[in-house]
């Protein structure tokens, strides 16, 4: 019976809100595991910097702060635009949501292009921790550790970004085909949680990678 009234509500839920809350809770549970996943990386950063602060900071000073800062502004803007889109669909304006999704996806794409460009420059300057390395002497060991952290952390984050951009394009296509309405837009909320989480990860990585080593 409930399928006739609300086609998106599955039989095990009392109503659409119950189903939406369950989906949102599921995504939050997943994000809680992601917090611990990235928490391991943060622990590695704390541990390595504690034992080799000079070398670690010397490695940090070689990062390209202009690209990192631009990417921070891009991601914060992406989260804002997507949240605005979520608010539009709550008001029943699917077209505005589609526009917001395309802008957010474009922002995510620009982030990834900048990230790849940054990696190319880093590799060109011999900052990959294996093989010939730019920093020599007593600081080399700590700097290699920093750049190991850098490539693992930014690589994992970029992978999450890639998945996020794909999900946002999927939401845009669903909204364009009128599958999402003011009454039912749970996928928009769930994908928004993931996207904002990826934003938070970059917000935390940004000072660890680009700022702490500078001025020390």
């Amino acid at each position: 019976m409930s399928e006739e009234i609300a086609p998106h509500v599955h039989f095990q839920y009392t109503d659409a809100r119950h189903q939406a809350d369950t989906a949102i809770s599921g995504m939050w549970l997943f994000l809680a595991t992601e917090v611990l996943f990235f928490g391991g990386l943060i622990l590695a950063w704390l541990f390595c910097r504690h034992w080799q602060p000079q070398g670690f900071d010397a490695g940090g000073r070689e990062t390209l702060i202009a690209i990192g800062t631009t990417n921070l502004a891009l991601l914060v803007t992406g989260s804002f635009v997507y949240s605005a889109g979520l608010e539009w669909i709550r008001q029943g304006q699917a077209r505005r949501l589609v526009q917001c999704c395309w802008i957010t996806a474009a922002i995510g794409f620009i982030f990834l292009v900048l990230k790849v460009a940054e990696w190319r420059i880093d590799l060109g300057e011999h900052l990959f921790p294996a093989g010939p390395f730019k920093i020599e002497g007593t600081e080399a060991g700590g700097a290699r550790l920093f750049w190991s952290f850098y490539f693992v952390a930014t690589g994992l984050h970029a992978l999450h970004m890639l998945i996020g951009v794909g999900l946002i394009i999927w939401v845009a296509l669903a909204a364009r085909s009128r599958a999402l309405t003011a009454e039912w837009h749970t996928p928009v909320e769930v994908v928004g949680l993931y996207w904002s989480f990826v934003d938070i990860v970059w917000i935390v990585l940004y000072p660890l990678i680009y700022l702490v080593g500078r001025g020390a």
Binding site: L36, L43, F47, H50, D57, Y82
Partner: protein, 95 residues
């Protein structure tokens, strides 16, 4: 533009301002041991994103439960992980 959109816009401006403060502070001469304090604006930014963009403020109670639980276990992870490095006494090698 609705009231909710204006609220989101205000949050975005606050995030950019915090990012600018963080960027500016990075070039000030702070001692090496205190430089991780540069994370403070970032933590404020993360809290803002969680509260305003992820619905922690307005969402169901279980959402706040998951958010608090993830922070609790992150604290356990980082606290126990750093317990040894922060408390170990280093003695110079003899000879």
């Amino acid at each position: 533009m609705s009231r909710e959109h204006r609220r989101l816009l205000g949050c975005w401006v606050a995030l950019l301002a915090l990012g600018a403060i963080e960027f500016g502070c990075a070039f000030t001469p702070i001692g090496r041991a205190f430089r991780p304090l540069l994370l403070l604006p970032a933590l404020c930014m993360a809290a803002l994103v969680a509260l305003m963009f992820m619905g922690v403020r307005s969402g169901p109670a279980i959402v706040r439960g998951f958010a608090v639980a993830s922070l609790f276990w992150l604290t356990i992870l980082l606290g126990l992980g750093m317990m040894d490095p922060l408390t170990r006494a280093i003695y110079p090698a003899l000879g």
